[in-house]
Symmetry: C2
Subunit: 425 residues, 2 copies
């Protein structure tokens, strides 16, 4: 099941594309209750299949260890009963969310009597290209289904067996409700050329969502003929304003950096107004050092505390995704905003201040998908936003910006009701 | 001013990109009143410059005639005092519209006290690539400015002088209000390589909008590394249901086809329920023949009336943009919906019926940007929708679908207001 002859690859991919398109036509008009029941049946099926899934995962893990994959990669790849249960719960959470499809987003009348409604519809067929985490198979497939889309999933080679076992459980849920299996498909080969083919299937696929490291996403953005919803770097900042409350500054900085260092909403650079640096930084440096965080500061910060190494220019543009923080003093709000807009990745940035006017300026002038006041950047998450599950945080400016949940996986159309109107010449 | 050395092209384009980015940063925070005053000053400047604009247009027209351009192209290129006045009025209409930037699209509170607002912001820098109509310079530049975006305009070589004269008037408006001239720029060369460069300027340009013929749009979609808002074919249908009111059927068909045949919302195919064909078609064929429309029908239609030629398979997929209509009998609503979804371009389609249930099924199941009941497809227009001016009708499914006005030229971000919240581990 794992390999397909190279020469057959195009045939296989175009068959997958046709099945997905046909399934999307059905899903566009499938009632909410049937989609939700299929998701819940998929959850039950995941629970029943836990042994098979863990067995498949053990095979993936053994192969990965043999290939000498890094510890962080192995951790992302590994499944256990708890993680399978979390996937099942995830499907049930998605089933519990409101169905975005059919929602009337706006409706108005024209002077000539035309009644115009803007109504949410599915996007169509979504291609998702991901790397090691096998749970993306369940999360992404379920979110696409919820929003009435067909999903073509392309997992990383290292999670191939695990992803297939998860797919089987999801498809059992589809089957139980009489939905087409084309609704959620997995590319049945680890051949990397399959990715290249997906990126050119503009007739079959309406949007590509890459989930993974920088090189994958850059390849997709460079090569794709299909529109891309990109999830790039999270080079997030916390700015401690001169009117920052010292306790909030300390708690938010520690949480934004260290709660989880490997997620895109983790802070990478701390900006501190020079007038309060001597007051607030020592406690923050205590906290971070104690938590095992390496600190790299500009000259002024390094001079302030011996535990801070000297930063280089590169540090201001580096997403560490690790227990490392760069620290820079700035001369007021304008310089802070300018630094964030120039060096950041327009993902998530937060100001800590008791000065409401300063906060509002930061919120209005920092050009990022998520801008925060007195809150940890680690809240950058669809679940924390109350949007249910998410496929990721979009850093693009078109269509979906910020967390991408079921609602962001929809399009819309206009439905115009008349009584015989013709347009005057 | 019209030519740039080939070797300098990259330098010129990257300077334009930098100026646009800098202008976009300013425009993002420019108050509505200043943008609107700049638009009105641009309108006044167009009126004052009418002689210079017509002189430039005369040069373009002479060159075009010498190159043997077709009559329809010449008509699109030609300006007169009335068309210049229409452009000026267009700018004032755009100034009168509400400013989309800063609008709070949604706002909600989370159980942990976080307050989340979703706020409209500009897209950034918009590249517009168009062909012969010089008025696009004014319309597109003004819509981008209204939504706080910088515009990089790339006109067709045939309208180069006219477009430059129009740009000068727009820039006079910018200057009067102290806005950067980088807000609206025109690529200062007819070198076609400039288009290729624009399509790779992903750092400088946030979205590309092509306006023109199929070959231009296909080139842009194929080559662009920048996200594209595409405006492709309008292969629009009118479906006369078995419960169609004969008078509405006749009026809507004539208007949808013949009011203007060259616009994307013009009907190209008429579908007629076979049970009412003999009743409704003769009058419709009278109207259309009298109006000078060529008719191409399937076998049954051709048998019904000698004025109807035989259609070939190609007719069902052809956007004539001319006084030609293809006519096909169908066996009920399902077949009509299936034909539209299979052969149409997902632009605008209309059902004529007094059967409310049939109308609602058509509205729900036809997968087009605009779906209509008892109304002419020629209403597919941002102005007719009450959206003010438009840059075109998007046939893509991402971001903007249907008419693209100032609101559709925006993105959004999330502004999160907290009181010190950190995310639990």
């Amino acid at each position: 099941m794992a390999t397909v002859l190279q020469s057959d690859l195009e045939t296989v991919m175009s068959a997958i594309g046709r099945e997905a398109r046909a399934a999307a036509r059905t899903l566009a008009h499938t009632p909410t209750s049937i989609k939700d029941r299929a998701l819940c049946a998929g959850a039950e099926s995941l629970r029943r299949s836990v042994d098979a899934i863990l067995e498949a995962n053990a095979a993936d893990m053994a192969a990965a260890q043999q290939r000498g994959l890094a510890g962080a990669m192995l951790d992302r790849l590994a499944l256990d009963a708890k993680r399978v249960e979390a996937m099942a719960k995830g499907l049930e959470t998605i089933a519990d969310q409101p169905d975005p499809v059919g929602e009337e987003m706006a409706r108005w009348q024209r002077p000539n009597g035309l009644d115009i409604a803007r109504v949410r519809v599915p996007l169509g067929v979504i291609g998702i290209i991901y790397e090691s985490r096998p749970n993306v198979t369940a999360d992404a497939g379920a979110l696409c289904l919820k929003a009435g889309n067909a999903a073509i999933l392309r997992c990383g080679s290292e999670s191939f067996n695990s992803s297939h076992a998860i797919l089987e459980a999801l498809q059992a849920g589809l089957k139980q409700e009489g939905l087409p299996l084309g609704a959620i498909q997995l590319v049945p080969t680890i051949d990397r050329q399959a990715v290249g083919l997906m990126l050119t299937m503009a007739e079959a696929i309406d949007v590509i969502i890459p989930r993974g490291g920088r090189s994958l996403i850059e390849r997709v953005q460079r090569e794709s003929r299909v529109p891309v919803l990109a999830h790039l770097d999270g080079l997030c900042h916390v700015y401690l304003d001169k009117a920052a409350d010292p306790k909030k500054a300390r708690e938010i900085t520690l949480n934004a950096k260290m709660r989880r260092t490997g997620i895109c909403g983790a802070a990478e650079t701390l900006l501190v107004d020079h007038s309060v640096a001597a007051d607030v930084l020592p406690g923050i440096i205590d906290d971070l050092t104690e938590a095992g965080c390496e600190l790299r500061g500009d000259e002024a910060v390094a001079a302030l505390d011996a535990r801070v190494q000297s930063a280089t220019e590169e540090d201001w543009t580096t997403e560490y995704l690790d227990a490392i923080l760069s620290i820079k003093l700035v001369d007021g709000l304008d310089q802070a905003i300018d630094h964030v807009n120039s060096f950041g990745s327009h993902h998530t940035d937060s100001i800590v201040t008791e000065d409401r006017a300063a906060a509002e300026r930061f919120l209005a002038e920092v050009d990022s998908a998520i801008v925060m006041h007195n809150a940890s950047t680690q809240f950058a998450d669809g679940g924390e936003f109350g949007m249910g599950a998410e496929i990721g945080i979009s850093t693009g400016r078109l269509h979906a910006r910020g967390p991408v949940g079921a609602e962001q996986l929809t399009s819309f159309n206009y439905r115009v009701r008349g009584s015989g109107q013709t347009r005057p010449t």
